[in-house]
Symmetry: C2
Subunit: 401 residues, 2 copies
């Protein structure tokens, strides 16, 4: 058995980011930049007014002065002439500041009478002007490579004049659930059978993490069907199996995939839930074998599949975004396996995050997993911990789970 | 001018959740349940083994005992007979516990020899069995109405045998950017013009919040084009405009939409950035008029559009998920307008969240908005605050921004 951190490091070492593709700006939300994005223009393109008012020369801006209004320049309709001594041009937010002017007189500090404008207050030279290039300059890097694009990033890329963006292709993930006992939701359930939940939960997690899942038909405990799934997974960036990953009498995944050339890197991790986790490769396709138990499968997916998708998807950061929280209830000493306790999270009166583990940690309880807000990370041999002690927590919403 | 909280309350009061629709489980990620989800079966359906081992009678479980193996029952292949005195049935994780047996002998505590199994350790009566209904019982509510479905929820609904789910229809949001100065990314830019960023940033935010955006063609400063956009927005759940929401000489949105029957609820909020924010209604369609300034538009969208989408989408919770953080740099006293400072977030050595406002808060700087991790919420008339003081923060990632 190897440690969780070692297992994650070995998985990540076996993966490379997907190649780039070009997507429309409007489809780029949540995609990961494959190259730095550089501004295609300077913003603002010239000095512009930050307010509604009048463009004037600062030297003409004394309180009580009266200036002649020689034109109007709404945003998008620049004034073609020059502002000379004693002159003003009507401006609005976003209007270009005309040649000759260096100051914006605020509308509320002015009184307009026909073709003249009187200054009720002194104008402040140079104020209320957004300077050319204040936001960004042409060719400036505005977004780094390896960044998942937020709505704000989309806005920034648009402002920098990018109708298309170069992003990593979404990682293709084939997902196979195995086991004679499985029925798809709504299908006839065999005697002693259960409804298959792993494949669709994992597909949702893959989608949430930016991947493109393909759910393969469920394979019974049939080596030929499992091997056929490996053929269907060819060309994917990752092949995920669930169930049968151990080496018991009915754990058929490893032997069945061996017939397709599976090379196993490791297949046991010192963790709970989820000891039987396998990582290997069939030709060029990395294979991640998750446990069949639904809670174990999801916990292992959070710890290994989500970072794997981050690496495949080209994200600069693949570390799990854990936080520190106070324990809401005491914990017993841990054994030699890292433990990942399903927990609720709350914020106490002092504003601190409090994580309280469910009393029942049975790895088959999907209902409690769904009600969990986080996982408390308990290292191997962690001593007993009192309520109020600090612990490391993975916030499930932060990893799209 | 009205307060931010009052404005949000009035917007939410004017909105109702969209009607329900049926979607496939595989398409339900991120959708919001429109009714409680009840289990369609009991899970586990009967007592099942939690481990690989042997089903025996607890009274036969003394160390050193030898039992006759009368059958094998892999998961999905239940044993049809009854376990009698001195008998055992080979089981695997997930196998039904056969009639007559009440205990699972662990595989590692047993030594198999032909048709007999010897107990190396005493079996613990009743242990290693997952009881019928331990996860959930048929007809039990497993997910409440008004919940955004996570990958874990998808797994739970699958396990409870739901191939379809009833969710709120995604809110349809029409988005209109106005202004003669605007060009779409990649299109020819008019003299003194800029590239339109708001519509696509808002569309991305709408999508991120679970809505279905329609970006309308940009309208110049042309009342007829703006009014035509209102016609195109008919049948939407929300009509969002950006730019021209104030009432200056070139703020045409209100008068143009008045020709289509716009009834204005309010149009100014005591906040920065973003004072000119309008809310009203054209017939049955609510109208949210955002400022044209890109940073103001996005900040106002976070404060008003995101909660509006939560309400329209049927989420039980519409409050903004703010957190407490310590200030990384001092702040000056605030004036009468609520202020929303763009800030970076970090975690200090003590594990506490630290929010540091950018020195430049100009509302036209998209680059700094994209680099922000949060908004520091400064109430009206907030006194000066020292570094280390506590402040309320909206974490942008937490609202999909």
């Amino acid at each position: 058995m190897i440690s969780v951190d070692m297992a994650r490091a070995r998985i990540l070492a076996g993966l490379a980011p997907t190649p780039p593709e070009t997507v429309a700006l409007a489809e780029a939300l949540g995609r990961v930049t494959a190259a730095p994005v550089r501004a295609r223009l300077t913003q603002p393109p010239a000095d512009v007014s930050a307010m509604d008012g009048y463009a004037i020369r600062g030297v003409d801006g004394a309180a009580g002065a009266s200036l002649r209004v020689i034109g109007t320049a709404p945003a998008g309709h620049p004034f073609a002439g020059t502002v000379g001594p004693g002159q003003a041009v009507r401006l609005f937010t976003g209007s270009l500041v005309p040649d000759g002017a260096d100051t914006v007189l605020l509308q509320e500090d002015a009184r307009r009478e026909g073709e003249t404008v009187a200054l009720l207050e002194a104008a402040r030279p140079g104020k209320h002007i957004r300077r050319k290039g204040q936001d960004f300059a042409a060719d400036e890097e505005i977004l780094p490579a390896g960044r998942r694009l937020s709505p704000r990033d989309i806005g920034l890329a648009a402002a920098a004049n990018h109708p298309w963006l170069v992003v990593h292709r979404s990682p293709r993930v084939a997902i196979l659930a195995t086991g004679d006992e499985l029925a798809l939701p709504g299908e006839p359930i065999p005697p002693g059978g259960i409804v298959s939940s792993n494949a669709h939960a994992l597909a949702a997690l893959v989608r949430s993490a930016g991947g493109a899942p393909t759910v393969l038909p469920t394979a019974g405990d049939d080596p030929a069907a499992i091997a056929a799934a490996a053929d269907a997974a060819a060309g994917c960036d990752l092949f995920v199996t669930t169930g049968g990953a151990s080496v018991g009498d009915h754990d058929l995944v490893q032997p069945a995939l061996a017939a397709r050339g599976l090379v196993v890197d490791f297949w046991r991790i010192a963790m709970r839930p989820g000891k039987p986790l396998m990582f290997g490769r069939i030709g060029a396709v990395p294979v991640l074998g998750l446990p069949g138990n639904p809670v174990s499968a999801m916990v292992c997916a959070l710890l290994f599949l989500v970072p794997a998708l981050a690496r495949l998807g080209g994200l600069a950061e693949t570390a799990l975004p854990t936080r520190t929280a106070r324990l809401g209830a005491p914990l017993r000493a841990n054994d030699h396996r890292a433990d990942f306790l399903r927990a609720t999270l709350a914020v106490d009166a002092a504003g601190e995050l409090v994580a309280t583990a469910f009393a029942a940690q049975d790895s088959a309880m999907l209902k409690l997993l769904a009600r969990s807000d986080g996982l408390i990370l308990r290292p191997p041999h962690a001593p007993a911990a009192a309520a109020g002690a600090l612990a490391e927590v993975l916030v499930l919403a932060a990893v799209g789970a």
